[in-house]
Structures are given as structure tokens and as C-alpha cells.
Symmetry: C2
DNA sequence: TACACTGAATAAATTTTACTGATTCATCCT
DNA sequence: AGGATGAATCAGTAAAATTTATTCAGTGTA
């Protein structure tokens, strides 16, 4: 069941009611007097109510039922204006809600920092952030669940734009008592001989494998881990080495055991992290501001001052 | 600032959004596909938002901002339907609010009884009842403040219809120690010689004076009282007799002193109490039901069984 | 009582808007 | 590649909204 009247009719009616005059309403609304007249008649027709009593030569006045309808009509008009306002705000101001998604490895790494900064600057925005794997991210972008994603530039279809933020080369992690533990750098060829713990995630697996393939070798996978925490635990406990990509700020596994990060000697394909969004869709002001924040964050991380810090961590 | 969109555009948009399809929406709404298409474009134009992402050959989906607008648009449509529903209910069911007014003398006399019956039968109606003098009653009817009035058929303009309910002849009231106290009936000519307490209300004063004038005599007014309570007190304390018109169920003044009611011998012009409403305006179902209740009440009062009771009181 | 005035309703003409059917266009799916 | 899908576009038409001019019922004043 849908409403049989239009917002315009309601507006004409309300102004006429407020002024007890069709002519006055016509002036205020910059339309002709018959326009108001007919809008009121149509409303009376569609509601089945007698809204006005006509006083010849001295305007008209609302009937008791007219008054009841009047107040509710006015309130509906207010809400319509509110929606109009909301749309305008959404398109011009940093407010509303912002729905994001990130690839798990570094969402939990960078979001806390960036989010804290962002909500401090723009408290009017309600940010929601999911962690999903690449396929889910792409789906979410396409069906409009997320405004943009923070992820790697891999497997993205044509329809998705990618704005690079930071490029991350792979590096090895080993336990403190691993045979290669003392080394300040490693060749991937050396690693291939040892047992490896593989992060068994859709995109990650393919990427790390491709690093070996690019060198014409195969890794010796001893364990397929389903989570980052498992990889860290397995590595720290000496089950095997692993390859990481995202800077890790703590070299301690969940069970307290430690592991070491060692750079690789070869110039292996790095992964580029950045912002992915639908090519067709424009960012909201809120989304745009968030991307700015991310770019600022990336620049900071890549500054000379932080370069050392980053290296040390890696 | 007024909304730049129409309810129809919102409806088309919402259905398209719910189905992620313009074509599907067109089918559901029984309009052509281009109608939906253009409504969406107009909405995007007027809000300045990109509401949908178009997927070639596989429909479209809402953008994150589209979703935000969607929920609010849907809620506005619900409220519009609610208003539509409300108007329909107001015109067909006994509900909503009912605003009445009555002439003071008997509003407090009959309303408690009738109102109790009415709210018991129709709890969905919110009844408000004022007490006003005739001029205010007429104004209130004309400007739509009251749906109808319970008053006398006096000074009513052409534009107001009157439905008679009960006809009330005047009678005298005197203190228990008044010279005329023992009498079972009186002539108005006898009264004219004594001091009279006049209820100094706009319409009442003119009516009671007219009774004397119709007999070619003048009353001897010793006091002009501004309220019914004062009249009763003055009469009971012997300041003078007075004339009443409405049946009084208690012959005790506020200060505890008593007075007597005595019928008049002449056939003086009675006042007719009834329902007054604007000729042009129709009663709501709620108002109509109230008038029915009043008519029922009047019939009951005039029934043979209650006739004696009424007489005794008068 | 007449006569100008007020203000809503009506009529007719016009412009504006909404809607449709046919077509195009870009993309997906075999 | 080729058929299918589904939104956008276009041109024509139907339907509304709006306007100017007029009518009509009543008010208020001389």
C-alpha cells in the first residue's frame, strides 16, 4: 500500500493551512493560486477527509480533522527535508558511516593507528572495518558493502582501481635456534632446502610460492598454517622457517617463544599494499579523508627517520 | 529549504535497490524500465550522490552512500504510508482525537456522564472538552478548533447547524427563608417585585432579561454574579431569587447553605440545548459517535421514568 | 440596497513532466 | 565469436501541473 499523495501537495496544503489562505500560500510558494487550490482538492480527494472549511471572501480554516492531518503532514515534510539534508551532508561533509575492509595481515597492523587518528579528527563518522580475504574483498567492493579496501594489488579485476601506498618485499623468519639464525641476510635458494611453514591463505600461498617459482625452485613445505598466529608459533618452535611480507613489530609468538626476521638477498617481487575501490564509484568525503589519512601514514612509514625503525623490525 | 525529490522517485529507487535490478523493479511496480531508470537518475542528480554502481549485463548494486540513503528513504516511505493510513483511519474509524466545547452551565452537568460512557466504548479516541461562552464557541467552530459544540440555539449564525437535544424551561430558585419559599409554583410577575441575582454572562443575561421583557416587566436586579457558584451562594444566602434553566442536582451552595427550586406558571420561552456544528463540515466517525451518545443521553433524560426525577430536581 | 472588494473555485490553454516502445550499447556467459 | 542480459538512450505520446483569465459567493461600506 503506497501513499496516494505527493510531497508537493502536502507542502502546498501545509502552507495554506498555516496561513489560512490559498492566495497567501501561493505568494509564499511562488506559484499561482489555482495550483494551491487544486493541490488541496487532490489531497481531500485522496485522503477522503474534509481538510478545510471555506469562508467566502475571507480565506479558509482547517477543520478538526484537517488539523490532525496538518500536524502529521508537517512532520512528514520535516523528515523529507531531513533526508534531503542528509543526502547533501553525505555528499559534501565528512560524516555518516564509512564501511571498510582490509586484508587480514596488515589491517590489524595499520588500522589501529590510522583509525585512532581518524576518529579523533572526524568524530562525526562512524567507521566499520572488516577483515576479509581477497575474493571477499572484491565481492564486497562490487556489491557496495565496502567503500574501499586496504589490500594488495593482486587478482583485482579491471573494474577496480588501485592506489599504491607502500611496497613490501618479502623477508624470512626463523626460530632463534634455527641453523640459519645467525645470518644477517639469506638467499631464497638456501631456504629452499629447509622445512617451511606456509601461510595457507588463498592469495598469500600463491604469492609466496611464486617467489620460489621465479627462481626455478620449490619450497619444502612442512606445515600449512591456517592463521598468522599459527605461523608465528610454528616458526618460533622450530617447525620450519617462513616468509613474511608485512612488517611485524613483535618477534614473539603467542606462547612466548621468539623468532628472528632476516632480509632476503634476491630482488624478489614485492607486494604493493594500497587502497582498492570501484573505478566507477566516487569516494564520499568521509572515505576520501580516510584515504588521505592512509597516505599520510604510508609517507610517514617511508620517511628516512622511520626507515631505520622499519628495517630493524623487519 | 524543501526536498527536491518526490515520493515516487524514492519508491522506484528503493524497489530497484532491494532487487538490485531496474528491470525487476519495473515489473514489480508495473511501469516500464526507463521510468525506473530515469527516476534513479533524477534522484542521483538531486541528491548529488552516486546511489548505484551499474554492472553491465547483470543489474546494479547500491554504493555505500546509496545504502545509507536507501535506509532513510525507505523509512520516509514508511512514514508516508503511515500518514496515508492515518488519514484513512481518521475518515472511517472511531479514533484519533476529538475536540469539543460546551456552554459552561451544562457542560459540567452532562459531560461527565456522557464522556464516561464514550471513552469506555471508544478508548481509541482522545477527547478534549473546553467550556466557553457563546461567542468563543462560534469562533472555535468556525476556525476549526472544535468539531462541534454543546450549547443553546441562540445567536448562532447561518453557517452553523443546530441539532436540538433537550428543551429546558426556566424556573426560579430562592433561599429556604425567602418569602416565596413555600410556594409550589410562581408567576414571573410576582418575582419581578423581589430582588434578583442575575448571572452576568453574555448570552444568559440577555435570555433571562428577555423573559421579563416578554411579559412587559423589568426585573429588580440586586446583584450581578460572574459565576454559577456565586449565584447559588447569593441565592442561598437570601440576597435575592434567581432564574435557572439547567437542571441542578444539588440544591446546596458551596458554603453549605440551601436553596429551593420552584417552577414558573407562565409558558416562558424555553432554551433548547443541542449540538452545534459548521454546516459545511462533516463530522468524523469519532464525532458522529459522540453525538449519538449525546442523543441517547437526551432521550434517556426525557423518558417517562426519568421525567419525575428531573421534575423533582427542578 | 447597492456596489466595490475579497478570495476561492473553475475553465481553458499551455508548458512541463512522466511514461512507453523501440533501440542501442556494453558486458557476461557459453 | 555469438547469443543473452540488462541498463541507458531516444523519440513520441499521454498525463499532470501550472497559468491566466474569469466566475462566483459572500463581506463590508456608503
Amino acid at each position: 500500500m503506497s501513499a496516494r499523495f505527493t510531497l508537493k501537495q502536502l507542502r502546498y496544503f501545509v502552507v495554506a493551512g498555516e496561513n489560512s489562505s490559498v492566495t497567501k500560500a501561493a505568494e509564499l510558494l511562488h506559484v499561482s493560486q489555482p495550483s494551491i487550490s487544486s493541490a488541496i482538492q487532490q489531497l481531500e480527494e485522496s485522503t477522503g477527509l474534509q481538510l478545510f472549511v471555506r469562508h467566502h471572501a475571507q480565506g479558509l480554516s482547517l477543520t478538526p480533522q484537517g488539523w490532525q492531518f496538518f500536524y502529521k503532514a508537517k512532520s512528514l515534510l520535516n523528515e523529507a527535508d531531513g533526508l534531503s539534508q542528509f543526502a547533501h551532508t553525505l555528499g559534501t561533509e565528512i560524516s555518516g558511516s564509512l564501511s571498510l575492509v582490509g586484508f587480514p595481515t596488515f589491517t590489524s597492523l595499520i588500522m589501529p593507528t590510522v583509525l585512532k587518528e581518524y576518529v579523533g579528527k572526524y568524530p562525526a563518522v562512524n567507521v566499520e572495518c572488516d577483515e576479509k580475504h581477497q575474493q571477499e574483498i572484491i565481492k564486497g567492493l562490487i556489491n557496495g558493502k565496502y567503500e574501499f579496501a586496504i589490500t594488495y594489488d593482486m587478482q583485482l579485476p579491471e573494474s577496480i582501481d588501485f592506489i599504491p601506498l607502500i611496497t613490501l618485499p618479502p623477508y624470512a623468519v626463523v626460530s632463534t635456534d634455527h641453523p640459519l639464525a645467525g645470518r644477517s641476510s639469506l638467499s631464497i635458494h638456501e631456504l629452499a632446502g629447509h622445512a617451511m611453514v606456509m601461510l595457507d591463505w588463498p592469495m598469500s600461498r600463491e604469492y609466496f610460492l611464486s617467489l620460489f617459482i621465479s627462481q626455478g625452485i620449490d619450497p619444502n613445505i612442512s606445515y600449512n598454517a591456517q592463521s598468522l598466529g599459527m605461523v608465528r608459533g610454528m616458526v618460533a618452535n622450530g617447525i620450519g622457517y617462513s616468509l613474511f611480507n608485512t612488517p611485524v613489530h613483535s618477534n614473539v609468538a603467542l606462547d612466548g617463544t621468539k623468532f628472528l626476521s632476516i632480509p632476503l638477498e634476491e630482488d624478489l617481487m614485492p607486494l604493493t599494499m594500497g587502497v582498492a575501490k570501484l573505478a566507477q564509484s566516487n569516494l564520499t568525503p568521509a572515505g576520501s579523508a580516510f584515504v588521505d589519512e592512509l597516505e599520510h601514514f604510508a609517507k610517514q612509514i617511508l620517511s628516512p627517520a622511520n626507515h631505520e625503525k622499519l628495517k630493524k623490525v623487519v
